[in-house]
Symmetry: C2
Subunit: 369 residues, 2 copies
């Protein structure tokens, strides 16, 4: 003994990748906090008073392990989305569920297909389980279901990832296109439909119908966006009962905290608050679009709580704009690969937060020249 034990081959071959460096890490790195935090697509509006009250009351229950079945929340989510409880699995946010899905469906060397520039945490988990990632380009700033299906067929993929609406572009595809994708992928391939932003939809054709069922489609939903509970780590997967039951073989059964379950249940119960959030987010999008236009940037249409703005030149230019925003204490982000990287991405915030954006963006652009 005495030497350092080695990692198993798959983790040994992995880089020490972090899908995202969080704003706290960034702030520590630069020695200064941000003024506004609009880079992680969090909801900056206060949560429902019912949620705040549920958390306050729930503090007394922090001593008890969580309900491993998340029964009450699972039943409520099933009713909310039009499914049986057996079709729903509560998990530690979409991030946690993405890890479980990769582990459940991908053997080492098998293929998952996604769009080049789509959510990096999906990629992180795919590669983390020794599987292989295949990407297809966005088409007109949208994910391209036909190209995803074609690549899946070419590569014999076991998993195809599509987010609708999309992050980081804010765009969307029709539900009909998703349904066609599900029919066009090869045998033995799961379509993973990430609906993190679905509450913000702006086009009824893009909405997954209540109770939508295909054996090879799994939907993912979260409380991190419209429900304003990013810090609580709660989401759910919706799919065929046999697939959903598979999570029980590998998940951390007591992993969703007791307070998270309590908070999510309260959030789900306050439909009126959600409606108000969606309305305020729509107004925030309109204001962000106006700010972009006033500065000569092109705001992309968005069905999310952020607006992606085309800076009109190449990635180096947009990266410089982002750098200047960060230097002025505005936390924003941008897509990674070209051609998406001609854009920056800013979440809708409160009026006061958007005032800061309105003030800072021209300064940042002026600094870049």
């Amino acid at each position: 003994m005495a030497d350092l034990p080695s990692f198993a081959p798959i983790p040994a071959a992995l880089p020490a990748t972090v899908p995202f460096v969080g704003p706290e890490e960034m702030a520590r790195g630069r020695g200064r906090d941000f003024t506004v935090r609009l880079g992680a697509n969090e909801l900056t509006l206060p949560p429902s008073p019912a949620v705040a009250e549920a958390i306050r009351r729930g503090a007394a229950e922090a001593r008890w392990y969580p309900d491993s079945a998340a029964h009450d929340l699972r039943v409520a989510l099933a009713a909310h989305f039009g499914y049986a409880p057996e079709e729903v699995m509560v998990g530690e946010g979409i991030d946690g569920l993405l890890g479980l899905v990769a582990r459940l469906f991908l053997a080492p060397g098998q293929v998952a297909v996604t769009s080049l520039g789509a959510y990096p945490t999906f990629n992180y988990h795919v590669v983390g389980h020794g599987a292989r990632l295949e990407t297809v380009p966005y088409r007109g700033d949208r994910e391209d279901p036909e190209a995803l299906a074609a690549r899946a067929r070419e590569t014999g993929a076991r998993l195809v990832y599509l987010s609708n609406p999309d992050n980081p572009m804010g765009s969307w595809v029709s539900h009909a296109a998703v349904d066609t994708l599900a029919q066009a992928v090869p045998d033995d391939c799961l379509v993973l439909l990430d609906e993190a932003y679905a509450e913000f939809h702006t086009d009824a054709d893009a909405v997954t119908p209540r109770g939508y069922r295909r054996p090879n489609v799994m939907r993912l939903r979260t409380f991190s966006k419209a429900y304003g509970l990013a810090g609580m780590r709660v989401g759910c997967a919706i799919g065929h009962p046999e697939l959903v039951a598979g999570f029980d073989r590998i998940r951390n059964h007591f992993g969703v905290t007791r307070l998270s379950q309590i908070a999510a249940l309260a959030a789900l119960g306050d439909a009126e608050h959600l409606a108000g959030v969606v309305e305020r987010v729509a107004a925030g999008r309109a204001r962000l679009a106006a700010i972009a236009e006033a500065n000569g940037l092109v705001p992309l249409l968005s069905a999310t709580n952020f607006v992606t703005m085309d800076c009109g030149r190449d990635g180096d230019h947009a990266r410089a704009v982002l750098r200047e925003l960060l230097a002025r204490d505005v936390f924003a982000r941008m897509p990674g690969p070209a051609p998406l990287d001609r854009c920056i991405r800013i979440a809708t915030g409160t009026e006061a937060e958007l005032d800061v954006v309105a003030e800072t963006l021209p300064e940042a652009l002026r600094a870049v020249g």
Copy 2:
């Protein structure tokens, strides 16, 4: 397409095992809540007022993603246990960390060694990653470090699990025995030292020294027991910086909730409350031991917040006693395999909770006959 996508080979071969059926699930199954909940070794005492207040204040931060580095908590834990922050990784309770450790160190088919009857969640994660479990028997109701080391050498094990103090027996081994184990395992083998109950220690010789370092030892600590935060899912792994850094390759970076980090930090800061808890738990152990003796059972010495009671006959008898306790709405548990299964296990609770135990245990024993 159209058929159900298949699972990858490793999860496909797994049973739909649940390491523990939680008390909520049990209560739903029988259609009635428990009167006292002393089966999951939770701390039934109220948490530190500082924790309750931190959670209440933290509710407003639920909208922000957690700090992915859990920086403040990590720094505080490092100082608390005598390490550098790079030697500490915060995770979603010991359960979550056990899953990451299994994934990080065990390739499919490799061997992990544990004691027959020790913590089932370790076994769950080992098998869940396609690795092979080897067990050695307890010896005199204690884990047997020499036998663990011998089996590890025989099987070329990559991982050895030891909890000190032990669950489910409440027993312990000396730190010297742990240190000898670390030197006796084969090359390229990690000793995973689960110290979930370490705050309750009763024997200074069993305590891992502050800042104890061996390259092939990883310690696990939790906020679920003495700190009374089982519902919040926070723990940490302590080990060589290169091993600790390995978690960053595979963990869910934003997985420890924001409120969990806040609550844990507040708990760690209230040493006075912890001291009071440890004192009350010691009194609870003494009372549980007296209750056992008054009923003709033999309480095992315990360095934890539970007392394991030898019912003096075989597993069928102890299972019948447990069944009668459950039927009388007392949630308790018992070890699984023989010969440990001659015992039942009851956590220390409040005076009122132990009153219920004192009243119910004789009834349960009478019912068994």
